[in-house]
Chain length 141, copies 2
DNA sequence: CTTCATGCAAAACATTTGCAAAAAG
DNA sequence: CTTTTTGCAAATGTTTTGCATGAAG
């Protein structure tokens, strides 16, 4: 698994440093996380991990296209290990994303947007965030 | 128009202070803006306008439901004067939103999401951000 | 009057910078 | 070896706090 990560990094012209492997591994573990969360957790496990490095690495990963920067309504940077198109269910508190893989919805939207060219803009990506609140356990069956 | 704003505020149990009227008016003028932009512009026009008050007011407006907090990939707070469902075209730089009122797309998505209840979540709002780059003038007809 | 909003200055966060030292390929 | 990347500490920028003063209803 460590080696798989190394391969992914090298395939994208990123030197496989231990710090990069840690960051990628952590995001693999968490799925979605803020830069801050990633830094805090890694630093606890390995005190030489620094803030600046964490941010550098995340930026380099986004540039390389191996992770995605998320839209958020907080003022923190969030990232997603999954780069394929999918929707998110976003809790009111803004600190948690749940993936919603719904090929049909994704298809409906991309077909529609592609069919309808938007004058003067070239679409690069579409982000769909569903703001929702978790129902309490009693209420669902 | 000043009076219209007063009415909107009072209808939502917000005291119609001059500062609130200014903030609402500015967002009406700009459509979308960051907290920081609103503060900076208002403070230039009226030096007694303060940062804390600007943030307080924006927060109270969101709570009252008369403006919406936007999703963004920068780490700044952005707001939208328009609370009706619509999509945004979001430029790469993240500092500018263009409204895309597309009743059909909005309808497609909300119909789909409503028809398909998501186990365990109650949908409150859906936000669609289309990341795009502006084509240069020469390339569009 | 009473309650709620504002202004101020300081604190708290999150993110970025610049640069020397260290490590990857 | 050469080129990147890391670590550090300080700087930047944005948002939040606490509390006394002032204004709205």
């Amino acid at each position: 698994m460590r080696d798989d990560v190394k391969d992914i990094l090298r395939k994208h012209d990123l030197k496989a440093t231990p710090q990069r492997i840690m960051v990628y591994g952590k995001l693999l573990e968490l799925g979605h996380a803020s830069a801050d969360m990633i830094y805090t957790q890694l630093n606890k496990e390995n005190p030489e991990m620094t803030v600046a490095t964490t941010y550098n690495i995340l930026e380099s990963f986004v540039k390389a296209g191996i992770i995605k920067r998320l839209f958020s309504s907080t003022n923190k940077m969030f990232f997603d290990i999954n780069t394929k198109p999918h929707c998110h269910i976003y809790t009111e508190t803004g600190d948690h994303y749940t993936d919603l893989f719904d090929p049909k919805l994704t298809e409906i939207i991309s077909d529609y947007l592609l069919s309808k060219k938007i004058r003067n803009f070239e679409i690069e990506d579409v982000s769909i965030e569903i703001v929702a609140k978790r129902k309490n356990e009693k209420n669902y069956k």
